[in-house]
């Protein structure tokens, strides 16, 4: 949203505390949601749990169209609607909850840079694999994306989304890449994350930040989603400290709620 709208929302947000009935919207979990959307949604859920903010997850077929920016997930808090991790982090900060206050300027610069790395490489690779790889698009992405709709709407929406994503890939120069090159890029990104994490529990030592939430969202989704080939998951699995990082966050923030 534009700058003026953002400033207005922040001001409104600061006025009220976090309500009990905050909700997060995403597409249907079993049938409709795709890899990249699930990763983004899980990242936001992890972030909110790390902040200790209660949120209820609602699955709606038309979440993508309800969202103010067209992207999943979005949260409905009080009478405001905010989508995507970046604006949601700013929104919660305006309400007084923040995970990155303890960082100094250089660390904050690093954190933002690594978040852009994940968005630039992992998210783009996920989109590429889902929509530009013909086998995956035909077997998984198009059927799933259009599952709630009847013919001919299902065909139209699925192809429109595929066309949009392919246009974007061409614009940023990923259109000419092969699948192997994309897997290589994912490996390099995971290697960078693994080296940055090292033996620490979180990226900035003791406390989790939004970077941890984002990395967890993407890696956990890649590890637990079944695609036409398991090479993507295998590439991530080869970094053991990333695996234990995902397991640790899952146990700390997700398992105590379900048991």
């Amino acid at each position: 949203m534009s700058l003026a709208a953002e400033a207005f929302v922040s001001q409104l947000a600061a006025a009220e505390p976090w309500p009990e009935n905050a909700t997060l919207y995403q597409p249907l979990k079993e049938d409709q949601i795709l890899l990249s959307d699930h990763a983004s949604s899980l990242a936001v859920q992890a972030y909110l749990r790390m902040c200790g903010l209660p949120v209820q997850v609602l699955c709606r077929v038309n979440s993508e169209f309800m969202s103010p920016s067209g992207k999943i997930p979005f949260i409905h808090v009080g009478n405001q609607v905010v989508s995507e991790l970046g604006p949601i982090v700013q929104f919660t900060k305006a309400k007084g909850h923040s995970l990155s206050d303890g960082l100094d300027d250089v660390q904050r610069a690093e954190m933002k840079a690594y978040m852009e790395l994940v968005n630039n490489m992992l998210l783009t690779a996920e989109l590429y694999i889902q929509w530009c790889d013909d086998a995956t698009a035909a077997e998984i992405s198009r059927p799933r994306y259009s599952s709630p709709y009847s013919w001919p709407l299902s065909k139209i929406l699925a192809y429109q989304k595929q066309w949009e994503v392919r246009r974007k890939m061409n614009a940023i120069g990923w259109g000419g890449k092969t699948l192997q090159q994309v897997y290589e890029d994912v490996s390099q990104c995971c290697q960078a994350l693994s080296q940055r994490l090292g033996m620490q529990p979180y990226f900035f030592n003791k406390q989790p930040t939004e970077l941890d939430a984002l990395v967890f969202g993407h890696l956990f989704t890649i590890l637990t989603t079944r695609l036409t080939s398991s090479e993507l998951a295998e590439r991530v699995k080869s970094y053991s400290n990333l695996l234990s990082f995902c397991r640790r966050i899952e146990q700390t923030y997700f398992e105590d709620k379900s048991s």
Partner: protein, 248 residues
């Protein structure tokens, strides 16, 4: 030693060896690692419309895109990142991603979409460096590519108009410049005392912005306030691209 390498790129002006960001990145890296690269500018040739710039020729192989070219040079044992630790290498990747996501859209907008800059600086420059009749086509093509890239990557439905995104693009870019400034601090280069690929990337992005005589640019005024970044660019220009050897 490596075979002879030839780099095809846009020519230079405003005190820079090249005005094109990607070409400048490759030229800077070649200087940092002491590579022997012959530069063939594509100005005034038909390559302005046919070639994808920058492009490196080495023997039989051709490489495009700055990241691929830098990888290729590293494989030829021309490695400016040799002394970096694994973690510094990871930081390099992260900061380059930050530049691409936050700074590139604003630079594209400043040079190619902003009407005043485009009409008074960018289009005349590129048109004057292209042979007839390409001088009508080349600037338009670049401007269209730039605009569609910004709209596709930053455009959020239903805000498909560029005017609504300008504020966001520029505020992201200013934040990116601030973050780079914090990271550089008072040091001469980003990692230690010798320049690396991250320095090449930052130089390639910032130098055209700093040196071109842009008629209107809020981003440039912001950059000028960050003295360590302007000092960084001037330092590299003086050390590696002094006027008596513009291409080395």
């Amino acid at each position: 030693m490596a075979a002879a390498m030839e780099l095809r790129c846009w020519g230079g002006d405003w005190g820079l060896p090249s005005v094109h960001t990607d070409s400048l990145i490759v030229l800077a890296y070649a200087k940092f690692c002491g590579a022997n690269v012959t530069v063939s500018p594509i100005d005034w040739t038909w390559k302005t419309i046919t070639a994808s710039v920058p492009e490196l020729f080495c023997g039989d192989s051709t490489v495009q895109e700055p990241a691929q070219i830098l990888n290729f040079m590293r494989k030829q044992r021309l490695n400016a990142d040799y002394e970096l630790t694994a973690r510094q290498g990871a930081d390099t990747m992260a900061y380059i991603a930050l530049l691409e996501e936050k700074l590139r859209p604003a630079l594209l907008h400043t040079f190619w979409v902003d009407a005043e800059n485009y009409a008074n600086l960018t289009r005349p420059w590129f048109a004057s460096r292209s042979p007839f009749p390409l001088n009508f086509l080349v600037p338009c093509r670049h401007a269209n590519i730039a605009l569609s890239r910004i709209l596709l990557t930053k455009g959020e439905a239903p805000l498909h108009r560029i005017s609504e995104m300008e504020g966001k693009i520029y505020s992201d870019a200013k934040e990116c410049l601030n973050l780079l400034s914090y990271r550089l601090g008072a040091a001469k280069y980003f990692f230690g005392n010798s320049p690396t690929s991250l320095d090449a990337f930052v130089f390639g992005f910032l130098a055209p912005l700093e040196k071109a005589n842009l008629p209107s640019s809020p981003l440039l005024s912001h950059l000028r306030q960050l003295e360590n970044l302007t000092g960084f660019c001037d330092n590299i220009l003086a050390a590696f691209f002094s006027s008596d050897r513009p291409y080395g």
